[in-house]
């Protein structure tokens, strides 16, 4: 957090210096990057990935983030602004995969190439899609827990927001993994709306009904952290997994409080999305889609994820798209 003003200053400096070079500079493509909110650490990491990629390739990034988290009208009006400002390319995460379709069509109509990252937009033409598979992440993270439990025991699921595509896919991954381990009993699946407090309170309530809970499958790290607090408060032990690979989850894994987290790879999504946009402008080949292989961070391999995102650098394009 204390590095934030520096980042701002650096971003401003890059933007200012690039602006002073003007259109005369050979590279220095202007890339507009849209993310969903300022509150989720995941998107902060995506933005840092985009910044790192732009710095490496000599392009300039401007970030568009709704001040009200995930606000559809705000992102729509930001699209209107961008269509007038005409950046060379756009890297785009829709705040809502259905509702933002009209906005994407506007960008298409303006003839600006758009790369879709993180959440797949329902409508519109894109250079490519860059993201992780929520289903695969749910599957491999749950498998990791169930295998560690020795294929037996009682588990509970803390779901995200019902009806959201992310939550639905992660839940499908969880339940498909559970089918592979028929001796594991699913005691309950309750929504915690991706929120820490709700994850904590739902876990507290579930512990009252179920005297023996061996594992917790949480659809994101914040709810997993809430569940860990609930378990500690009741002096009970269970293996907990979450998804997203946040710094907080890595710290909990290091401290032995959390078993694992599915790596949503925000930094790489930012890197590859921005690189793809720049490559498209430079007429370099870009695959139809880049979906990273789902991987799990645990105590054996957390080191790379432990590096603060503002100190990481994007891998080479060829290495990055291998997944």
């Amino acid at each position: 957090m204390n590095i934030k003003p520096t980042q701002r200053a650096v971003a401003f400096f890059i933007a200012a210096s690039a602006a002073s070079f003007g259109a005369a500079a050979q590279s220095g493509e202007k890339i507009a990057v849209f993310t969903k909110n300022q509150t989720n650490p995941f998107f902060q990491v995506v933005r840092l990935g985009a910044d790192s990629a732009a710095k490496q390739m000599g392009a300039v990034v401007t970030h568009y983030v709704p001040t009200k988290p995930d606000s559809i009208p705000e992102q729509l009006s930001q699209i209107d602004d961008v269509v007038i400002k005409k950046p060379n390319a756009i890297v785009f995460t829709p705040v809502d995969y259905k509702a933002m379709g009209a906005g994407v069509l506007k960008m298409n109509a303006a003839g600006i190439p758009v790369v879709n990252i993180t959440d797949r937009s329902e409508a519109g033409k894109f250079v490519t899609f860059v993201g992780a598979s929520d289903y695969e992440l749910g599957l491999v993270t749950a498998r990791h827990l169930l295998k560690t439990l020795g294929g037996k025991g009682n588990v509970v699921i803390l779901d995200g927001v019902k009806g959201s595509i992310v939550s639905g896919d992660r839940n499908r991954g969880f339940t498909d993994a559970l089918k592979e381990y028929p001796q594991v009993k699913l005691l309950a699946a309750q929504p915690g709306n991706f929120q820490r407090l709700q994850g904590l309170q739902v876990m507290e309530n579930l512990m009252q009904t179920h005297p023996q809970i061996d594992g917790v499958l949480a659809a994101n790290d914040a709810m997993a952290a809430g569940a860990i607090e609930a378990l500690e408060g009741a002096n009970r032990k269970a293996l907990v997994v979450g998804i997203n690979g946040t710094k907080e989850a890595v710290d909990a894994i290091k401290a032995g409080k959390m078993l694992a987290t599915g790596d949503y790879n925000g930094f790489l999504q930012g890197c590859v999305g921005t690189m793809a946009a720049i490559r498209e402008l430079r007429k370099l080949p870009v695959p139809k889609e880049v979906v990273f292989k789902a991987s799990v961070i645990d105590k054996t391999n957390y080191q790379p994820a432990d590096i603060p995102a503002d100190k990481r650098v994007c891998p080479k394009w060829e290495d990055a798209i291998k997944g």
């Binding site: 300022q38 509150t39 309950a188 709700q198 739902v202 579930l206 009252q208 607090e229």
Partner: protein, 325 residues
């Protein structure tokens, strides 16, 4: 309202409408508890009841200050955002200096300052409470998001976490805080002139002013208290969650308003009690607890909350009408 005592045919004629409202809510809570203890065997256990009390205490701490504001005829929509900023500032203060006392002072102080600003906007600038505190909500969100920049601050010393997660004699610490605030608040509102002036201001500001109540000072004070309570609640939330993030207060304001309304405090001011708000918080908490235990999707919780709010306000309106007040 005085007509009540003159109708001997009514049951419980010696009760004021406010006491009647509290009893009605206790009955509803009791029925809910009875139904749940029959349906879910784990409901009526000491462990679960303490669990419910702890969850309700977090909500009550936040809703108690709001109750005063609403009693006084105002509204404070900024409390959730206040919690988020106060908690984030307290979190970084503790992390940065290692001093728990400083952290607590920062959290409570931030809450109080925000409350004072709200109060000044409403009294000195005469901005309607809805607008002033709604604007404040946005300002606080903006400042908090900027300050946190998507980061999470987590991991606090055990002594601090006692405040939210600790036990004293097998009872969670927040429950003592809740009882302390309830006691102090009830004495203040029911048994002091200051408290009666709050009710008078809320019931009819002009009449209160004409009869010599310093209405501006009282209104400023309730907003300050509401802010202070949000600041204190933020410390308990922080200690309970062991973590601060920019959006941590988002869902809290509407829940607190629901607890106040279910508790029988009228949005028009002048009627209501802190005990009612506590029962409101308990009803909301028991509903979630029961749904989790029965395996009903907790997504139905907002729906049920809405139904209870409307029924509760409706029942008060009908009672008052029947008694011709």
């Amino acid at each position: 309202m005085n007509t009540l005592a003159q109708k001997p045919g009514l049951a419980l004629p010696h009760l004021s409408p406010e006491q009647r409202a509290v009893l009605l809510r206790l009955a509803v809570l009791g029925l809910l508890g009875l139904a749940l203890s029959l349906a879910a065997p784990a409901f009526l256990t000491t462990g679960n009841l303490l669990n419910v009390l702890r969850q309700a205490s977090l909500m009550f701490l936040l809703a108690s200050g709001l109750t005063l504001v609403i009693l006084c005829g105002g509204l404070d929509l900024s409390i959730g955002a206040n919690v988020a900023l106060s908690a984030c500032l307290a979190a970084t203060a503790i992390k940065g200096t290692g001093s728990i006392v400083l952290g607590c002072a920062v959290g409570a102080g931030c809450g109080l300052c925000i409350g004072l600003l709200n109060g000044l906007m409403v009294t000195a600038l005469r901005i309607p409470p809805f607008i002033a505190t709604y604007g404040m909500l946005w300002i606080l969100h903006g400042v908090t998001y900027w300050y946190m920049n998507g980061e999470t601050v987590h991991g606090f010393p055990p002594e601090f976490r006692m405040l939210g997660s600790g036990y004293l004699a097998a009872v969670p610490v927040p429950v003592y805080l809740m009882l302390g605030v309830l006691l102090a608040g009830t004495v203040l509102t029911q048994y002091t002139t200051w408290g009666q002036e709050i009710y008078a201001t809320g019931a009819n500001t002009e009449a209160a002013a004409l009869s010599g109540v310093p209405v501006h000072a009282r209104r400023l004070a309730v907003y300050a208290l509401s802010g202070l309570m949000a600041g204190l609640a933020s410390l308990v939330f922080l200690a309970r969650l062991n973590s601060a993030e920019g959006d941590m207060g988002e869902s809290l304001t509407l829940q607190a308003i629901a607890a106040v309304l279910i508790g029988g405090t009228s949005l028009f001011g002048g009627t209501g009690t802190l005990v009612g708000t506590l029962i409101g918080a308990l009803i909301l908490t028991v509903v979630l607890n029961g749904m989790n235990q029965l395996g009903i999707s907790a997504n139905w919780q907002p729906f049920i909350t809405g139904v209870i709010v409307i029924l509760s306000v409706l029942s008060d309106a009908l009672t008052r009408k029947r008694h011709g007040s």
